[in-house]
Symmetry: C2
Subunit: 336 residues, 2 copies
Amino acid sequence: MTQQRGSGATPTISQVAAAAGVSKSTVSRAFSRPEMITAETVAHVMDVATRLGYVPNHTARALSTGRAGTVAIVVPDIANPFFPPLIRGAQAAADQAGFSLLLGDSDEDPTREDVLVGKFGPQTDGIVLASSRMTEEQIRAHAERRPLVLINRDVPGLPRVLIDTATGIAAAVEHLAGLGHRHLVYVSGPTSSWSNAERRRAVRAAGRRLGLKVSAVAARRSTYDAGVQRVDDILGSGASAVIAFDDLLAQGILAGLAARGVGVPDQFSVIGCDDVLAATMSPPLTTVSAHGGHAGRKAVDLLVSFLDGNEGDERRVLDTSLVLRSTTAPPAVRRN
Amino acid sequence: MTQQRGSGATPTISQVAAAAGVSKSTVSRAFSRPEMITAETVAHVMDVATRLGYVPNHTARALSTGRAGTVAIVVPDIANPFFPPLIRGAQAAADQAGFSLLLGDSDEDPTREDVLVGKFGPQTDGIVLASSRMTEEQIRAHAERRPLVLINRDVPGLPRVLIDTATGIAAAVEHLAGLGHRHLVYVSGPTSSWSNAERRRAVRAAGRRLGLKVSAVAARRSTYDAGVQRVDDILGSGASAVIAFDDLLAQGILAGLAARGVGVPDQFSVIGCDDVLAATMSPPLTTVSAHGGHAGRKAVDLLVSFLDGNEGDERRVLDTSLVLRSTTAPPAVRRN
DNA sequence: GTGAAAGCGCTAACAT
DNA sequence: ATGTTAGCGCTTTCAC
């Protein structure tokens, strides 16, 4: 009972077979295993197929083979500029491997995320979980039922791709120290974010190593507004430079600083993270590159290779580096 | 041949039926139409089902019913900031209606778009096409085979949601005229974009009506870099204000202007479109709001209502308006 | 190299 | 209210 609106129904493999004067199997093979049959036969079948407008029915194939031909990706917030490039990379890799990409947005809510992944499970071959906010137990439970690849979440035993912002952050702290800064402040992002924990830790460690004082300000949400709202705290900390959890926050901080007449980089230095908006800010933001697109692509590649029977606990670490632009300079005596 | 990694294979409806001592139909009904059978039976079946860890197979159900439970959305470029909110709206609406959302990125390429839509056709209940670059013929051909809803593309007879930026643009031109500008320039975006044609037309019409001179500069691609690169042409046109196809372009123009020491809004006024980045720029950009999120949501709602048997040619127009921020002011004598 | 036939797991008439 | 029986469109042994 294929419900069909619009005009003509999509032809099935049987109709193509009939029209081409061959069997269903031949048509099937022409599409899935062309090397198994004569080149002429393939050509003929293809010819008839295209003339009839035949397109293989993905669902039927999935039922028959047990492979859905679909992978899902779930992210905390599509609108956060960190994710679109990542999704784009995932979609490209999926497409290339012959998979379709199902998209889920958990709205930063672990519960919604849990439901979403549960729902996707039965209808996909595997799932990519980006910046998951779920507990390790929840994640493991899902991994038990379906192949799962994590992005920016380090759960031993599960395949995962990690963007190693820690090294980039360390370089950022060194850069600041080299410029003469003695006191800096880290503005943190989402509490349950692995990346945030990594970055906070990296700032602290580098600060300690270089003998800098490191203050902390919690922004919690990663938004422009949260950034501008934290400016008073940032200025109040007495630091001369700030490292923000991500570019979005840094952008807000930049605006807030400007609104208070604090010049960047002359009176205050700021460094972001991810390099997703940095090039388009004024002044252009010094930031830590993240290559979200690579991560998305790599995650899907890992998933596909896992589906092909390869290792299931690979831990891929992606490099980052500091990219210098125009928001850092030697510290200045603060006017008040 | 259900391939299964992770733990034990998922039980099928038959196994549940056997274990519960009922027929497959009863189990099926217990899940899909519980009101058709005794409450006790339902309870018993459910009990056995959960004990066995049974989960209905989405794919099998889809094949049997002809409804995939999935809708697809294809966009020209996920990374263009106009689309994430739109996708987010679509995903939310789909989720709410019980559908999963398949995502496709055509990379601004009509051919890729065509292939993508063709591929999604058989595995979805319907498709949302945002800012399609395909020809009207191609679109109609797809609409013939699958329910289709267009966003920002006006094809008579097909359901579509249109963001009426023309009225917002007209307001922008009036605003500029009111400020005293006599000559403005429109920086156009993608050639095959319906929105671009609408906006260009609206600028021209309003300019004529108000007796303003209107020049044009082609940016073609909607990117920050394209914006900065067009600044010489913009300045060379002799205009005192610019209206850009979208915020991305406007952002680049702002940066390019700043780089040349042209003050905004004192020496030059700029207005963007879409309101996707405008609030986070410095100075905050005056722009035309677009509400991409609404459009995404509305499109999926239309699609779902279409699938439920309602009208298939609705034309939904979404309002826009000019939002004044800080990039416009009366024209100044240009220093050179 | 190609065809025939048996399913994949589920739903939906049609009985009973 | 529940069971029986065909398929949905495709892949895949197994013959030829």
